[in-house]
Symmetry: none
Subunit: 194 residues, 4 copies
Amino acid sequence: MKSTKRVRREPAEAKSLILGAAEKLMLDEGYGAVSVRAVAKVAGLSSALVHYYFETTDDLLVMLYRRTSDRDMEYLKDALSADDPLMALWSYQTDAARTALGVEFLALANHRKVIRTEISRHAQRARRLQAKTLARFLDAAGAGVKGCSPEGTSMLLTSVSRNLIMETAVGISLGHADARAYIIQELGKLRSQR
Amino acid sequence: MKSTKRVRREPAEAKSLILGAAEKLMLDEGYGAVSVRAVAKVAGLSSALVHYYFETTDDLLVMLYRRTSDRDMEYLKDALSADDPLMALWSYQTDAARTALGVEFLALANHRKVIRTEISRHAQRARRLQAKTLARFLDAAGAGVKGCSPEGTSMLLTSVSRNLIMETAVGISLGHADARAYIIQELGKLRSQR
Amino acid sequence: MKSTKRVRREPAEAKSLILGAAEKLMLDEGYGAVSVRAVAKVAGLSSALVHYYFETTDDLLVMLYRRTSDRDMEYLKDALSADDPLMALWSYQTDAARTALGVEFLALANHRKVIRTEISRHAQRARRLQAKTLARFLDAAGAGVKGCSPEGTSMLLTSVSRNLIMETAVGISLGHADARAYIIQELGKLRSQR
Amino acid sequence: MKSTKRVRREPAEAKSLILGAAEKLMLDEGYGAVSVRAVAKVAGLSSALVHYYFETTDDLLVMLYRRTSDRDMEYLKDALSADDPLMALWSYQTDAARTALGVEFLALANHRKVIRTEISRHAQRARRLQAKTLARFLDAAGAGVKGCSPEGTSMLLTSVSRNLIMETAVGISLGHADARAYIIQELGKLRSQR
DNA sequence: AATGAATGAGATTTCATTCAT
DNA sequence: CATGAATGAAATCTCATTCAT
């Protein structure tokens, strides 16, 4: 009965379509909304096709996470090799869309073991990378964020950016401007002391 | 299908039973597991009864959040009036179970508008309360976490404790010990400078 | 939109309705047709209700088998205590509907472990019961089906009745009349020799 | 999604591969497991190719049945022309793999009309063939399985072998040894009386 | 001749929710 | 006050089958 218009696509295109829809859902409505059905609807194709490309929902989520974290890794590397690595790093950390997605995956990880492993791996890599750059500044400073290791500092920065996003999402903003300013001020000190 | 034993309970008792089950589920399996069915099962009563006391799932979640945040508020007040308010505050912030539940509600808030309002209200109150105590130390210090307002400082502390919990939950620990040590060191400075 | 006529039934009635529908499907279209959906449709109720009474499809099938085998056991006992137990037994064995259902369960057992256990248990009980009666005649005979134990004889009778049903179902009848006549003749000998 | 290796095969070879996979599935997991998908997977080729060679699932099953029954016919003829036809026949009848497959098709026939016709045709042919050989022994005997026609006797033998297989499959063995011994004893008598 | 892409239908199961008692 | 009975909707996943290339 329906207009049986069979659209023929490149697999890469179809996959990208699906992952894009999943990402959109995750950001707009949270990971709970990422069902095969919903993804198919948003992507404008049948749910059977989603299963054709991603055998299980776990597979879909893992692939989405990989795509996301690969992209993030590129951004991070770019930031760390910028002229002003510290500010670029903080700018990367506080990118709203990126961090929102990261937080969502973090929440999802509590319920999907497969994601847990992926996240853990990626986070360690990212933290080590950040630490390597931070080390150059911290060593030179001697003062400032004294006493905190590069890894610890990276962890602190991540904490603040994540919480900024999470709280903003639910409408909390008290202290945000001050906290942001403080972080930037401290990073500024580090930079100048080198 | 079960034995028709009509158990007669005090409404308050029944509600408490239900909220307890919901809290347990939330902590053990995440907010996604808090379905009326699951709650009823854990509490050992029918899902119809859950609906009888909490018309919708939203109602149940809001009530649970209120109970949780009221309790938290008590703990927070106790901490802030302790002999060593700074350490007591940090101890409160890093209480695993409490913070885990808080983070779960924060994640949930992304998907349930009603929770958002509740969280926002509670968070502002808690932040102001913390700020009032922090102010006494920050004013006296002049140095230390210089340049960050009490509200900002509260926000920073919350960020770190939340991220410690979230990352630990997914198996990340890189930098954790250092970050913890750093926070305690800084709080120590503040305390002694007064 | 639909006429939301909520029919309220006794659980026993509902269960019986469901099991009846499942039995009908099994006989008419084979065990492969016994899906929760199909059963619900035939019984005229929602598939959710089927799940309400039988948590899994396995449960439904096991319950159906138990109902069937319990009923069979009654019939068997009646037959064995009839005036002419041998003929009554054969008549029981060759009851088309009963045996057809038994054969269907036998086929089903190959794919559902739970059924296997149930069938095995029931079959052994039934065979022992038949053997006890057959023993009285075989001992007295000395000749006739000489050399075959009561249990073996029961097995042989079951074999023939099952195959009569299976072959008839697919349209084979060659040799059927002769085989039937032979069995009856041999049973007749046994009876008279006592 | 896989590497686009276009394997070029002889049609006959491909068909044989497919039928082999289907037969394996049927024996290992029952006819319910014989889906186009599953067959393709076991055979290591795409489900589209299975459809290319066998338009519908029915076609596939019919072809498999034909291949099976043709092979069986050869075995049967060999048996009937052996030195000791009776024992060879019984040995043929009780061949586990062969009979298991036969029983599976019999069960399948209840749900697929096309198979029914095929089975019926083959069974009649096989029964007549067996009857012709049995007749030589039964005529000579006069006693023994007296009163049962060759066709009836063939039917009886088939019944027992089938039930032995079916019951063994679900874990029933009570009376099996006795029944087997009895059949062999009776066949022995027939042979010697000639 | 062969196959990857695509789909509608249907299977099992869980959920929130509504009634009737 | 409490609950068993009932349901529609949606989740995940499998299947047979059809195209377009």
